[in-house]
């Protein structure tokens, strides 16, 4: 076995080791705690998905949660017992937050489930072995808990020159890996051999610091005994030689380029704990349910290493190691350099917990106050990643994250060497962590906003397409109606061939016209918008000017539409010639057209109303004119509606049967009533809004009274009430008259329920308003009373309906 050449890395520090304390006692095995807390997110990546329910009985080693995606892992019961809860519990995390955990109440039997070792791993395909490792819940046990199978898969990108086993354990106080190598040297070597079989690296090296002579002895003798090809490379003790990139540099002299992984330069690194876990899984079929953890610190009377079941609460371990609560000033998970403070001892041990440090105040004094950076450069000397910590600090403090990134902030391994040496006691790592999370947050926000933008644009495109389609259909209908009239006038001769030939030409022309029309319309829209804006900003000169333009543009659009209709005549005529349509079609078309006209008229009414409101707001002089317009528009809408209702009922229905006709009249009636109802509702709303507006403008009560709005409001409310009453009585009567009442009843009940819900919601809203605007208490109280009446009515109706429903059911 030739000695491996040892290189060196930049920087590094030599903090006090403090490793002896925890090595005095032999490996301990704490008793079963009263409950095990198994967080679902013990690894990097998505949290696992629980497989068990509360109350399930599980055996030791049974799978209780499965992976949730690629970068995720399995979770197993650490002992046999009952799942007592699946709930949020405090977890070991620097945030001190809770996360979802499976709580297992042990039954004390510790009965293993049937284990299925993978005895034929040498002959099985590597993918199968990797899948098996994933099912055994094995993740990197040294640091972040990266799922082992993912790391192994990544190693197949490139032929490996080195497979490095990280046994450096450079952080002060921690001796868990040291103890593991002493206790389980054989298992470690066998595990390494399994992994080597999977990755086929040229060289397998265990990197270990020279402060662990016992472990080194154990390993070398075991290697000799087994005649294994594994090499042991002893590196000098220097923090942080156990950092992945640092150890690689020590053993191979190669630097992992910024932003890349060791696998990119043909190197794979695994922790000793992971290798042993792999061995246990493959040879015995034991999933990852326990680990070696160091319990140390001055506040413990019996510091030692323990083999502990995952999920054991830290408090249980502190008790086991005889902690002195009085001495304990800070509880740390991990080491003093890279660990984090625990606010509670209730958190559990997870797959990555290598140390619990119960420190006294003397051991870990509170940090000295931060002072200004004196640019001494000591941090730069210490940084193992060859960064410029003072520069990073500068950018982090001033939130110039982009520049920090350019200075390779993300290559910082948060080792704390810089903070350790800083004479100004600046908590440099904290600044870097803050910057990193800010950058990460910003990135996530960008991803999210991009998604929102995409969806918004997709929606807009869809809506535009829908609108265009509707528009096209509308146009098609519009040209269909007059063309038929024309056809009748022109009579049969038009059917001759020339018309058919002319059709394509006509379509071409109509296409062009359509485009023109669309352009004209969009122009009109723009102008209208400008007009509105001008009105808002009270630019009077602009208003009149714009109004002129709007009317002109409207004319132009109308002209275009007319033309389009005319040109289109020819085409449908031709079409008609080929496929004569059934007679009733034009009648239907007429109705449709009338309906469309009505809709347009209504829209016009709305528009004018809006303008009126605006005008009133700014007390413009043209109020009267607009009112006049409104009246006219309203009239037209009413006329149209009448026209629509009457002819629709009188139109002879050739296709529909005589029986069907009345029902359609009925439907029309209800429709009309509904429309009335909606209009009345809108009226109420409008009046309310206006009153509100007046109030906002600081008008006092008497002025408001003087304006016609309150009156209007009351009128509108009355009308609404009448209409609603009609509606309900009518529908009730109808539903009672119906031969098959049940379905209708059910519908009716549903509707009433909704009405009740609506009324309730409205009362809620009003109450809220009452709170926020106590000065209008009177009015709001009135409203509330009215709504409550409505609610009662609706509820009474609902009760009768339900009653009649049960009655009919009983009668059957």
């Amino acid at each position: 076995m030739q000695a491996t050449k040892i290189y060196s890395f930049h920087g590094g520090i030599h903090p006090e080791e403090n490793k002896a304390q925890s090595l005095r006692l032999p490996l301990g095995r704490p008793s079963l705690p009263s409950e095990l807390i198994l967080p679902l997110g013990q690894h990097i990546g998505q949290s696992s998905r629980p497989l068990v329910k509360v109350g399930d009985k599980v055996l030791k080693g049974e799978t209780i949660a499965i992976n949730n995606g690629f970068l995720s892992s399995f979770l197993h019961a650490s002992t046999s017992g009952t799942i007592s809860a699946i709930e949020e519990r405090l977890i070991a995390h620097p945030s001190g937050l809770s996360d979802l955990c499976i709580i297992l109440a042990p039954d004390g039997q510790d009965t293993w489930t049937t284990l299925e070792p993978l005895n034929d791993w040498q002959t099985l395909s590597k993918t199968d072995v990797l899948a098996y490792l994933s099912e055994m819940g094995i993740v990197g046990m040294g640091g972040a808990g990266f799922p082992t199978q993912v790391k192994l898969q990544g190693a197949h990108k490139k032929p490996l020159s080195h497979f490095i086993i990280n046994a450096a354990e450079c952080e002060p106080y921690i001796t868990a890996d040291d103890m593991l190598m002493r206790e389980k040297a054989l298992e470690l070597i066998l595990g390494i051999e399994i992994l080597q079989h999977l990755v086929e690296a040229d060289k397998v090296v265990i990197g270990i610091e020279d402060n662990k002579p016992a472990a080194i002895d154990a390993l070398t003798s075991m290697i000799k005994q087994r005649d294994s090809k594994v090499q042991v490379a002893v590196v000098p003790t220097k923090y942080p030689s156990g950092g992945e990139k640092q150890l690689i540099q020590l053993l191979t002299g190669k630097e992992v380029p910024s932003g890349q992984h060791p696998a990119d330069i043909g190197i794979l690194c695994h922790n000793v704990g992971t290798c042993v876990a792999v061995y246990d899984a493959i040879t015995f079929g034991k999933p990852l349910i326990s680990r070696f953890t160091t319990l140390t610190g001055d506040a413990l009377k019996a510091p030692q290493n323990v083999e502990v079941l995952l999920g054991t609460p830290v408090s249980h371990l502190l008790e086991y190691a005889d902690s002195e609560p009085k001495k304990l000033s800070r509880l740390i998970m991990g080491g003093p350099m890279m660990g984090f403070t625990l606010n509670s001892a209730a958190v559990p041990i997870v797959k990555t917990s290598n140390c619990i440090l119960a420190a006294s105040k003397k051991e870990l004094p509170p940090p000295a106050p931060e002072q200004a950076c004196i640019r001494c450069g000591m941090c730069e000397q210490a940084c193992p990643a060859s960064l410029l910590p003072q520069q990073l600090l500068w950018f982090s403090k001033s939130q110039e994250f982009e520049k920090a990134e350019h200075h390779n902030l993300f290559d910082c391994i948060e080792c704390g060497a810089c903070s350790y040496v800083c004479p100004s006691s600046i908590p440099l790592v904290q600044y870097y962590r803050h910057s990193k999370s800010s950058i990460r947050e910003a990135r996530e926000a960008t991803v999210k906003s991009d998604l929102a933008k995409q969806r918004f644009e997709a929606r807009k495109a869809r809506q535009d397409a829908e609108a265009a389609e509707k528009e096209a259909k509308r146009l098609a209908r519009q040209k269909a109606t007059p063309s038929k009239a024309a056809e009748k006038k022109k009579a049969a001769p038009a059917k001759a061939a020339p018309t058919v030939a002319a059709a394509p030409a006509a379509t071409d022309e109509s296409k062009k016209l359509k485009v023109d029309l669309a352009i004209g319309k969009s122009k009109l829209k723009k102008l209208q918008k400008q007009l509105l804006e001008a009105q808002e900003n009270e630019h009077l000169e602009e208003i009149s000017n714009l109004q002129l333009q709007v009317t002109e543009q409207e004319k132009a659009v109308a002209l275009l539409e007319e033309q389009l209709a005319k040109t289109a005549e020819a085409a449908p005529t031709a079409a008609e010639a080929k496929v004569p349509k059934p007679a009733p079609a034009p009648v239907n078309d007429d109705i449709k057209k009338a309906k469309i006209d009505l809709a347009i008229a209504k829209a016009a009414v709305k528009k004018v109303e809006k303008a009126l409101k605006k005008a009133e707001e700014i007390q413009a002089p043209e109020i009267e004119a607009i009112r006049q317009q409104l009246k006219e528009a309203q009239q037209r809408a009413d006329e149209l509606e009448n026209a629509l209702v009457n002819p629709a009922t009188t139109i002879p229905k050739t296709e529909t049967t005589a029986q069907a006709a009345p029902s359609s009249v009925d439907a029309d009636m209800t429709k009309k009533r509904k429309i009335d109802l909606a209009i009345a509702k809108a009226g109420v709303k409008k009046a309310e809004k206006n009153i509100q507006l007046l109030k906002e403008q600081g008008k006092n009560e008497s002025e408001i009274e003087a304006s016609e709005w309150p009156k209007k409001l009351i009128e509108a409310q009355e009308k609404l009430a009448v209409l609603e009453a009609e509606d309900t009585t009518d529908t009730v009567a109808k539903s009672q008259a119906k031969a098959e009442p049940e379905m209708d009843l059910a519908n009716q009940i549903k509707k009433e329920k909704i009405a009740v819900a609506l009324a309730k919601a409205q009362i809620n809203k009003l109450n809220k308003r009452l709170e926020s605007a106590p000065e209008d208490a009177d009015k709001i109280n009135q409203d509330i009373a009215a709504t409550e009446q409505r609610l009662q009515r609706a509820e009474a109706l609902l009760a009768t309906l339900i009653h009649s429903q049960t009655n009919t059911q009983e009668n059957r």
Binding site: H93, K362, P365, Q371, P427, T446, R455, R459, A757, A761
Partner: protein, 198 residues
């Protein structure tokens, strides 16, 4: 005399050459579209809530490019204002309270058993984050919801709540250290409190 003419001649020649070069570059490397609007748009949170007074984020981006104030976007908050200020090289100003206040991140949640299936909220949602059909229960896809609030008002039975997204262990981020001023001003080494700890 000759030298003067020569100098003038050279200068004229040079200016012609560089003028031609610039002219060519202008044609050759012409940038399509309006890059500044795109850049501004990329900084806006794309909530599409309309609180800025524009029908969506892009129209506001266009308005900013045309000189509107950069502090009208409440969902983006101070961070967006800062980013816009950096981009446009203007001063970062506080958020304009008329357009709303910065709130914690929220998502809409429909109380599903109260929903009457009127689809009004679907029509209001600018990012299609609500799932449902007429007379069926509706629900919000939390991952797609931008928390814009627009679906709350249209709901006739008031069954949509805006719920704050709490911080989980996965989304938690480190606080910024307090800095020098916040601690003490013990500048002299012997004042440092490390020694007191014994």
């Amino acid at each position: 005399m000759f030298t003067v003419l020569l100098a003038i001649g050279i200068l004229v020649a040079l200016s012609l050459v560089f003028g031609a070069l610039l002219g060519y570059a202008n044609v050759r490397f012409r940038v399509e579209g309006d890059p500044i609007v795109d850049q501004i748009d990329a900084l806006l949170p794309q909530t599409q809530c309309g609180q800025c007074g524009h029908p969506g984020c892009r129209p506001y981006a266009e308005a900013i490019a045309n000189g509107e104030a950069i502090n009208h976007c409440p969902p983006g908050g101070q961070a967006t204002i800062q980013a816009l200020a950096d981009l446009l090289d203007v001063e970062a100003i506080p958020l304009d309270g008329d357009h709303g206040t910065e709130t914690a991140k929220r998502v809409a949640v429909i109380r599903e058993d109260e929903c009457i299936g009127c689809t009004k909220c679907i029509q209001a949602c600018p990012v299609d984050a609500i799932l449902g059909a007429a007379k069926q229960m509706h629900t919000v896809i939390a991952d797609e919801c931008t928390g814009c609030d627009l679906c709350v008002d249209p709901c006739p039975v008031d069954c949509i709540d805006m719920v704050e997204i709490g911080v989980t262990a996965k989304t938690w981020s480190w606080d910024k250290p307090q800095g020098i001023a916040a601690t003490s001003l013990n500048i002299i080494a012997t004042d440092r409190q490390t020694e007191v700890a014994h």
